[in-house]
Subunit: 472 residues, 2 copies
């Protein structure tokens, strides 16, 4: 029997922190014996005292809703859950902002190595926007490419009428920078293979683990390119396929794969963003926007991607709210349909892109500890950045040197000029789990999650009370 409810442990941790950090915040006895009133608690002190908000949101959302594929009934159920939870927490202006989007859903997913050895089944999952093989599947010989670049450089005749296999093997990095580089095999490989008239493409998962849980994720075909079936096999399955190819030497002819992938495009459906606010005291001040995404891939329960992000930003906003009304409004955005194409972020920008935003932040890189803070702020905000860097340093966060990006769901805002801050999480383990069935609650370390809330609360408290001379 597993320990079901971690907050008890969390309170224990918090209690220790209170003892260590907040001794001065306890009622003190003055020399003349008069009991002085306790000073008001800061947002960070409130977060330190006992934060189960982030954990509870993460646990409840992943347990009661589970997987939340964009545009499906599950994502809709998640929005109803979110509206109810955010209202109950005392946020203002809690609302859904609906938008339309194309919906793709997974079907049967099976693959076998059929030749030249004893037939074996592989662990495969379709990539988002994959075409269907039809229920009977397809079979073909494999065309091996060690990387996306090798595929891109290959003459069409190496690819035509074959099943492409891209074998590039992602390695972990703390800042997640391997994703963009290795990820091209997933983002663009199917499009390139389709243009070279491959009958299908299978990639080594864009992931850093060694479990037989393949990593899904969206791929995109250019307008005018006919989508082909596209899947990812797990790292151990990619190893196996590679070993068979090496044994057969004649890589392009001898090893054959059968593939059944039957995803469907369901056409246009509703999705939506859920928005909640902590109203600021100065109605003329522009809001601080903090974002996460509510949808998840369908294979896991979306714990690290991105229930935890919603938990973290919402806990921070709640602590700032409880500490006293901030000057600026804090707008909490739980975006819809991020995974399959950032449709929620685009819809938010369409609706609100013309409004002034003081600064944008997003939490969407798991729940491991924040190790670095990066800024993209106007020159006027130099002292503000210094204050934030100083406030988060005690939690083990170093000041970085690269410009902040803000995250997918606020990406359009930041592209359009909004200031941004990145509270960068440690990504060393992130791509072990990312977009797999293994994205479940047990992967979250409660102490790391708590550190996220503390860093976010410290940052948000400063931002929400920043002046108009510092931020737009």
């Amino acid at each position: 029997m597993k320990i079901p409810h971690i907050p008890a442990r969390l309170f224990g941790v918090a209690a220790l922190l209170v003892t260590a950090v907040n001794a001065s915040a306890a009622p003190a006895e003055a020399p003349d014996g008069v009991i002085l009133p306790a000073p008001a608690r800061s947002a960070v002190e409130l977060a330190e005292e006992g934060d189960d908000i982030a954990w509870t949101i993460t646990e409840d959302l992943t347990t009661e809703i589970g997987p939340r594929m964009a545009g499906t009934e599950a994502e809709s159920a998640a929005r109803r859950w979110a509206l109810s939870r955010l209202k109950a927490m005392g946020f203002a202006n809690v609302r859904e902002e609906q938008f339309d989007m194309p919906v793709w859903v997974r079907g049967t997913e099976e693959a076998w190595l059929t030749h030249a050895f004893q037939p074996q089944k592989l662990a495969i999952t379709a990539l988002g926007n994959s075409a269907s093989t039809g229920p009977q599947g397809i079979e073909g010989s494999l065309a091996y490419f060690a990387s996306f670049d090798a595929l891109a450089a290959a003459p069409d005749e190496k690819v035509r009428n074959r099943i492409v296999f891209i074998d590039n093997d992602m390695k972990p990095t703390q800042d997640g920078s391997g994703y963009g580089y290795y990820g091209r095999g997933r983002f663009s490989g199917p499009n390139v293979a389709a243009k070279k008239v491959a009958i299908a493409i299978v990639i080594r998962s864009i992931g850093t683990d060694s479990h037989r849980n393949p990593h899904t994720g969206v791929t995109n075909f250019e307008a005018g390119v006919k989508p082909i079936p596209a899947g990812a096999i797990s790292n151990p399955d990619a190893d196996q396929l590679y070993r068979q190819l090496v044994r057969q030497q004649a890589v392009v002819d001898e090893v054959r794969m059968k593939l059944i992938l039957t995803p469907q495009n369901l056409g246009t459906r509703h999705s939506g963003n859920v928005i909640a606010e902590v109203p600021g005291s100065d109605p003329a001040a522009s809001p601080v926007i903090v974002a996460c995404h509510l949808d998840s891939w369908d294979l896991g329960t979306g714990a690290i991607d991105d229930a935890a992000g919603c938990g973290i930003i919402t806990a921070a906003a709640k602590h700032v709210m409880k500490a006293g009304q901030p000057r600026r409004t804090i707008r909490v955005l739980w975006a819809g349909a991020e995974e399959v194409g950032v449709f929620g972020g685009k819809a938010y920008f369409d609706a609100h892109g013309k409004e002034k935003h003081a600064v944008a932040l997003e939490s969407d890189f798991g729940a491991d500890r924040i190790w670095r803070v990066d800024f993209k702020l106007p020159d006027s905000a130099g002292p503000l950045a210094d204050r934030i860097a100083a406030a988060v340093m005690p939690f083990g966060v170093v000041r970085g040197k690269q410009p902040a990006g803000g995250g997918a769901d606020v990406g359009a805002l930041v592209q359009a000029g909004a200031p941004a801050i990145d509270l960068a999480q440690d990504g060393t383990r992130y791509f072990d789990i990312h977009h797999t069935p293994d994205d479940t609650l047990d992967k979250i370390d409660v102490n790391n999650l708590h550190q996220n809330v503390l860093v976010w609360t410290a940052t948000l408290a400063i931002l929400a009370n920043s002046s108009d001379s510092e931020l737009p």
Copy 2:
């Protein structure tokens, strides 16, 4: 791209060992300048010089055959492969000894939590000998039991017409002793649930990992008990189910599961043991038998269970053979159909149980390092045990105090009185992988595998040259 072929690394390791350990075995220059002949190499020295046998058997078997479910065409292909490989390695009397067995094969495997929250799919696998739900599946409310004992003690009315869930949560131990204790939920839980008229049973996997790969394994129903559908869900799925049950409080009524498991009994089919020998110089001396099993569960490629075991024992036998003919015959048994009921071990005992065996050993607990040696020997073998303990101590192996069991495939021999030695492997990680799709080649540490070969070679060299006054 993964490194495909580890032996190159292995040779590097071995080369270092040669330098450190075997300097005295190199040709030496005598004082008068005459080059002396190199002394004959011992079996252990040969193993140290460069052992790729265990790795190659493990890699080739898992790559070219893959999963080898007992009684299927895949296991038959594995036997053909084994006969060919063992002959090519120079073993004598290489043969197949066929037997018949009942064959059970997996079908569709799906489970959902359907009520009281948003429907969610669980990762499930059928237990061997599970009944089928039929293609339409069944749905029912759950009866929760924290352990097998709790189920056994429950009144029938708590179970009748429900889906039983046994939640006991196995913890790792170095000696694997948790398996027997926690495993009762799998071995016996379905039989007990069937007798109490449950409609099905789902257990928390008998495993110590947190991945969404459920652990299969055989279960048995008593004669006269009608089998029910029986499956294992992964640890994260069991956590999820438990959280939902806690939330609903009314454990027995409120949470419902739909289950589709469609395994089939195929009736009686052939399986077989593969046997190879190193003939001893003394035809009157009884043989030493060393065992592994060739079959595997169907979910993974059976790398740690038990391709590695076959690699280890066969490498050791080959090194002893190469070092010079031993006094006793070494009989290498690659047993068939172990996983589903030790049918190969029983068939060996039926055919050979009346023959005298000097001593029996088996490697069937993964590929991590050997940490302990245990004995069950006649009193006359005290000095022999001392020699073996001394020979394996340099490889980090301690002398244990419990009687050796010998392993499943030689279990009947040992029960009937044959002496046994256990070269006990570290099981701390074993039940992370055991009987899951994750039992693949990448889980094997080549240095640990090599240590196994060294320890086995040292032990086998002593046993194969032991006297009749020491062993029967």
